[in-house]
């Protein structure tokens, strides 16, 4: 591997970059580079330059140059990643794809659209809406997340329980390889059995294998009816049992969310919403084209919640009532940020997945580990897809809090792996989760590195991520917080 910590800083040929991209599409001032040095993770590192392509040819030219000069290239979308995928751990050139933002085609008869990677998820949905369609993966960050970034991280969201993740929506793509070659992967058809499904390999590869310059995506009709419900539980285990029972009952929720007691308290404390302070709440939703079918689904879920000691069960088709039901979950993010002035809400160990039957136990484990390590952690998530989110609230100035967080995270991931769960459900690995990822995938790490080596022999595409990331995420890069000496 060419990129190791401690190697002298390489410089880039700025005139070459300006020749390829034009004067206005290259940034090298430290104030710009500093801003591009972080995302929504805890990490920060300075790139050497930022470039903004407008077309595929420019991306190809850059890769030819970078491959020859052995300069790392880090593709970047909205920069909303939570694990440091776009933080340039060894420096290099940030390839800001946000200007390749054309929706190229909306093909209704063939039910696909072609987009450039910089298209924003919400924009695509705005464009599809007049046609009665939507692009389903929709992560919470859809207002700024780009399709390219979502592909790189196999993003998913609250409705993935029914509609799947990004990988399920991608039919094909055009990719610029590290050599500069342009390849077309996948097809424009719903199914394909023509050899290796390399476009699926690109999904979730975190910008380490190729640069997606065009994607062909599937879309689905917007449902006519949507009904949401909520049930409270006095014991986490009861909520957990309800989750398993719903998912194995044949019901197809379009959303199934768990919010734990810490989360409810945080929302009440900071937002004064007056939510009932119970051990857990389940928010469930069904959607469809026929009201009777939605009724059937929602009643089934209501019954299961009731059988599993759920109380205060209410459901509604009314958009305003639905917004009210979802308010607690929606306000969770800001609530955690405002929980205590001395604490910051950090994205660490934030999206593990466990089997349905372990969701409640997982939430309990999070509480136990947090208490033991004297930090605050909350458990919430898309339990319908097995995804559990956490946030660690800590005083980021105190080195001992970082040590506690590190210890807690290690313990939580040990539990996740012990119940056949996985390190990341929807945010990816990047830098923050490499420690657990490497343990979880120990017997395939060599295989992963072989694939990387075959596609990117000079290791110039987003080096130092996934299996190449340092095991200690605290020291992998600078932290984006001020930490006392």
């Amino acid at each position: 591997m060419i990129h190791q910590k401690g190697i002298p800083m390489k410089s880039v040929d700025e005139s070459k970059l300006r020749e390829i991209f034009g004067e206005n599409n290259v940034k090298t001032d430290p104030s710009d580079l500093y801003a591009f040095g972080s995302d929504s993770s805890v990490h920060h590192a300075m790139p050497w330059a930022v470039v903004r392509p407008d077309n595929t040819e420019q991306v190809q030219k850059l890769m030819v140059y970078a491959n020859e000069a052995l300069i790392p290239v880090i593709p970047r979308g909205g920069g909303s990643g939570m694990c440091g995928q776009t933080v340039p751990i060894y420096g290099g050139i940030i390839l800001d794809m946000k200007h390749m933002n054309r929706i190229l085609e909306i093909n209704l008869p063939d039910v696909y659209c072609r987009v450039e990677p910089g298209v924003v998820d919400d924009d695509l949905n705005l464009a599809l809406k007049p046609h009665g369609m939507f692009y389903p993966p929709t992560p919470a960050s859809s207002r700024i997340a780009t399709i390219g970034g979502e592909i790189a991280n196999n993003a998913s969201g609250v409705r993935s329980v029914k509609y799947g993740a990004t990988r399920d929506a991608v039919l094909g793509m055009k990719v610029v390889m590290p050599s500069g070659d342009l390849v077309t992967l996948g097809a424009h058809t719903r199914v394909e059995a023509s050899g290796y499904q390399l476009h699926k390999l690109m999904v979730g590869s975190e910008g380490t294998l190729g640069i997606v310059v065009e994607a062909t995506l599937n879309f689905v009709p917007i449902p006519e009816y949507r009904c949401m419900g909520i049930a409270n539980f006095d014991h986490l285990s009861h909520a957990g049992a309800a989750i398993g029972a719903i998912m194995s009952s044949g019901a197809t929720p379009s959303m199934l969310e768990l919010v734990d007691s810490v989360a409810i308290k945080a929302v009440n404390k900071t937002m004064n919403l007056g939510l009932k302070e119970v051990a857990a709440s389940l928010i469930f939703e069904a959607d469809g084209m026929v009201k009777e079918a939605v009724d059937y689904e929602i009643n089934k879920m209501k019954e299961i919640c009731k059988k599993n000691h759920g109380s205060d069960i209410t459901t509604s088709y009314d958009p305003k009532e639905r917004a009210k039901i979802f308010m607690g979950r929606k306000k969770l993010f800001p609530a955690l940020s405002k929980y205590d002035d001395s604490l910051s809400s950090t994205s660490l160990a934030d999206d593990m997945a466990v089997p349905y039957s372990k969701m409640a136990e997982m939430a309990g484990k999070i509480h136990e580990v947090a208490k033991k390590n004297n930090i605050i952690m909350t458990a919430y998530g898309h339990c319908g897809s097995g995804c559990m989110h956490t946030k660690i609230l800590m005083d980021t100035k105190r080195p001992d809090q970082w040590a506690s967080a590190k210890k807690a995270i290690t313990e939580i991931y040990e539990y996740v792996r012990s119940v056949n769960g996985t390190t990341s459900a929807e945010h990816g690995i990047g830098l923050s989760k490499a420690e657990s990822f490497k343990v979880e995938k120990a017997d395939s790490l060599k295989l992963l590195q072989t694939i990387k080596q075959a596609l990117d022999p000079n290791n110039i595409l987003n080096p130092g991520k996934l299996m190449q990331a340092p095991e200690d995420w605290v020291t992998a890069t600078g932290l984006r917080y001020s930490v006392n000496n």
């Binding site: 940034k27 001032d29 430290p30 104030s31 710009d32 500093y34 801003a35 591009f36 040095g37 972080s38 995302d39 929504s40 920060h44 930022v50 903004r52 909205g78 920069g79 909303s80 800001d96 946000k98 200007h99 933002n101 054309r102 929706i103 190229l104 085609e105 909306i106 987009v115 910089g118 298209v119 924003v120 919400d122 924009d123 695509l124 705005l126 464009a127 960050s141 207002r143 700024i144 993010f333 800001p334 940020s337 405002k338 002035d341 001395s342 910051s344 809400s345 950090t346 994205s347 980021t396 100035k397 600078g478 932290l479 984006r480 917080y481 001020s482 930490v483 006392n484 000496n485």
Partner: protein, 317 residues
């Protein structure tokens, strides 16, 4: 990163924990007019917060380029409305500006400046809703900390001496050109909508649609930072390019981010409507509507009603 020796950011210092509380989700991009215009993430509010953190922690040198990031802000506060962590971004920017000014870094960024042809009539001093313009040693000056770049001074200056040099596409000439381009390239174009960024701005729309999806658009929305900045020349320009009508969206009465920008716009439009009447053009072709912050539904309904009215009137003959 380890805390380095503290710099002289004494005003910014009180925001240290807030700068850490920002989770850097980037949701503040969505409505930022600067990000929409330049497309550069480094011009978006998150980058300003990162810059403020860098300056305070000593990781970033207080250079002119770094200072410009902070001085480039229209104070529309849409970033604050979108912030998932409840961070009051513009208050942080204001305190950072105080420190930077003390270091001799005064922008101007988006703050207004005065050209040499200033007649010192003091109209701008009286009109400034933020008490940022004053008669100083060098003539009419702007306090770069107080200035919120609403542009009202630009609108009222009879000599054209008050200027905002970095308009980010919201200046008169930019808007005239953009609206003219839309009207000349869309055969079905009928109306131009000027909306102040506070009363409304469309969702992100940072992506470009295929021609097949946009060719039959009958109106286009352009953001101006405050309705109080609208000028007669700008409002009339679309009519010269065969627009059927112009709609202005402003904040409701007594709820203007820049104090009286909305009432200024209303007065201006009333005057223009009288002129239109005198030359036999239906004054209903120029309308102003009040839109509370972020009320997309009402905004769309008002546009639809306006277009229906224009369809009933037909083109200007």
């Amino acid at each position: 990163m380890e805390t380095k020796e503290k710099t002289k950011f004494k005003h910014l210092e009180k925001w240290e924990s807030t700068l850490s509380a920002c989770i850097r989700c980037g949701y503040c991009f969505e409505h930022c007019p600067m990000f929409k215009y330049t497309g550069w993430e480094s011009d978006a509010p998150r980058a300003k917060i990162i810059t403020a953190f860098g300056l305070l922690s000593g990781e970033l040198e207080p250079t002119k380029m770094a200072a410009d990031k902070i001085f480039n802000c229209f104070y529309c506060k849409r970033c604050e409305a979108a912030c998932s962590s409840g961070v009051t971004l513009t208050e942080i920017f204001t305190d950072a500006k105080k420190d930077l000014v003390e270091m001799g870094l005064k922008g101007p960024g988006t703050t207004s400046v005065t050209d040499l042809n200033c007649a010192r009539c003091l109209i701008c001093v009286k009109a400034c809703p933020h008490e940022a313009r004053f008669h100083g040693e060098d003539g009419i000056e702007t306090d770069p900390v107080k200035c919120q770049a609403c542009g009202i001074c630009v609108e009222v200056c009879p000599a054209g001496a008050a200027k905002i040099e970095n308009n980010f596409g919201t200046g008169r000439e930019d808007l005239i050109q953009a609206s003219s381009r839309f009207l000349s390239t869309h055969t079905s174009a009928k109306a131009i909508v000027f909306a102040c960024n506070w009363s409304y701005f469309p969702d992100l729309q940072a992506s470009r649609l295929p021609e097949s999806e946009t060719h039959d658009k009958d109106y286009e929305i352009y953001v101006n930072m405050c309705a109080g900045r609208l000028e007669s020349q700008l409002l009339m320009a679309p009519f010269l390019n065969k627009a059927w009508g112009v709609l202005v969206a402003a904040c409701p009465e007594d709820d203007c981010q820049h104090k009286n920008g909305n009432t200024r716009a209303k007065k201006l439009i009333q005057g223009l409507q009288s002129t239109m009447e005198r030359v036999n053009i239906d004054p209903a072709r120029l309308q102003v509507v009040e839109i509370p912050a972020g009320d997309k539904t009402l905004f769309q309904a008002q546009i639809d009603t306006f277009i229906d009215r224009l369809n009933a009137m037909g083109p200007i003959r």
